[in-house]
Symmetry: C2
Amino acid sequence: MTLLLQQNIKKHISLSESETAIFCGLFEQRLIKKKHFLLSEGEVCRFEGFVVKGLLRVYHIDKNGFEQVLYFAIENWWVTDIDSFTNETPSQLYIEALEDCEVLLISKKNKDFAYENLPEIEKLFRVMTQKTHVALQRRMIDNLSKTADQRYQEFSEKYPQLIQRLSNIQIAAYLGITNVFLSKIRKKLALKR
Amino acid sequence: MTLLLQQNIKKHISLSESETAIFCGLFEQRLIKKKHFLLSEGEVCRFEGFVVKGLLRVYHIDKNGFEQVLYFAIENWWVTDIDSFTNETPSQLYIEALEDCEVLLISKKNKDFAYENLPEIEKLFRVMTQKTHVALQRRMIDNLSKTADQRYQEFSEKYPQLIQRLSNIQIAAYLGITNVFLSKIRKKLALKR
DNA sequence: CGTCTATTTGAATGTACTCAAAAGCGGTGG
DNA sequence: CCACCGCTTTTGAGTACATTCAAATAGACG
C-alpha cells in the first residue's frame, strides 16, 4: 500500500527501514470515487495527501463563477491546500477526483510528530515546498509572457501522460483560457502538421 | 542597523535577547546604489537578504528579451532567488536596486548554522516560505482570471506605498502588460472619476 | 436508443499589443 | 539658471489574441 510512498521518500532523503515504516504508519488510506471531493471551499484542510492512484484537480471558483485550476495531482504527487492546512483556516479551494483515486493522508498532528521524531522529514517537506514554489514561479512567468498557444504546447510536451487523461475543459481551466478557444488552438495546430 | 530585522523576526517567532543577537550577527550589511545589481543571471545566489532600506526588483528576461518582474522588495521584505540559493545552481534572475538600498545578507552556511543552533529559526523560514507560496498562488489565480485593468486596480489598492515609488514600466512588467497599455488603462480610470 | 456532456465551428466583440510619433520631465553640464 | 539630452509617458492607428454567444456535431453512458 505504501510502496509508492516509500519510493517517493527515497528520492529525496535517506531513511532507515524502521524510520520509513514509522513514517508510513502515520498515513491513513482514503479511497475517493470520481467526481467526489477530497476538500471543499469553506472546510479546513486537515491533511496533506500523497496520490497512490488516480487523478485529482485542485481549483478555485472566482466571483464570476469561473473555475481556475491551480494544479493537477496524479500518482506520486502530493496534494493539499497548504494555506488552510498550516494555518487551520477555511479553504478557498476545491480538491476533486477526476478519476477513482487512492490517496494516503497525513494529519497535522502526525506530521508534527514526524518533524519531532524523524529529523530528515523536515528536509523532505522543505525540499518539496521549494520545488513546488520554483515551479509555480516559472508558471507565473510563462503565464505573463506567453500566448495560450505556446502554453498549451509546452504543457503537452511537459506532461504528455497527463494531457491524455484530461478533458479540454480541465486543460483550459489550467491554462487560463476558455475551452472554446482551446479547441480552436488544437485545430490550428493539427492543420500545421 | 538590525533593528528592523529584529522587529520582523518578533512578528513570527519568539526568540530570547541573546538568541536574537546571535541570529542578527549572522548577517552582513550591504549597500547597493540605484541601478546596481545584487544578483545577475548566471551567478549562483549566495545569500538570502532582508531589506532595511530602499527598493529592489526581482525579474527574469525571457527569450524574446522581455522583462518579467517576479516581485518587488521594499523595507521589511526578504529577497533572494530561492531556487539558486538552495540548490546552488546558476540563477535565471536579476535582482536590481531601483533606489539606493541597504540590505542585510545571510549566507547559506550561516543560515544552516542558525537552523542547527536556533530551532525557532526553522519555523521562521518555514512560515515565510509558506506565506510567499500562498501569495504566489493567489497571484497566479488573479493573472489567469482577471483583466489587466482589474489587476492594476487591485495592485494599487494592495500596495499604495509601492505604486508611488515605481515607474509605469516597472508596474507593467509586474502586471504582465506593456507600459503603453498601462498608460491607456490609467487614462481610462482617471476619466471615470 | 435517448440523454447528457464535451467538442467544434462561425460571427461579432473585447482585450491587449506593435509601431510610430509627440509631449513631458529630470538631471547634467556649461 | 537655462539648454539640452535621455528616458518615461501619452496618444493614435492598425493588428493580433482571446472571449462571448449560439448552434451544430460528436461521444459517453445508462
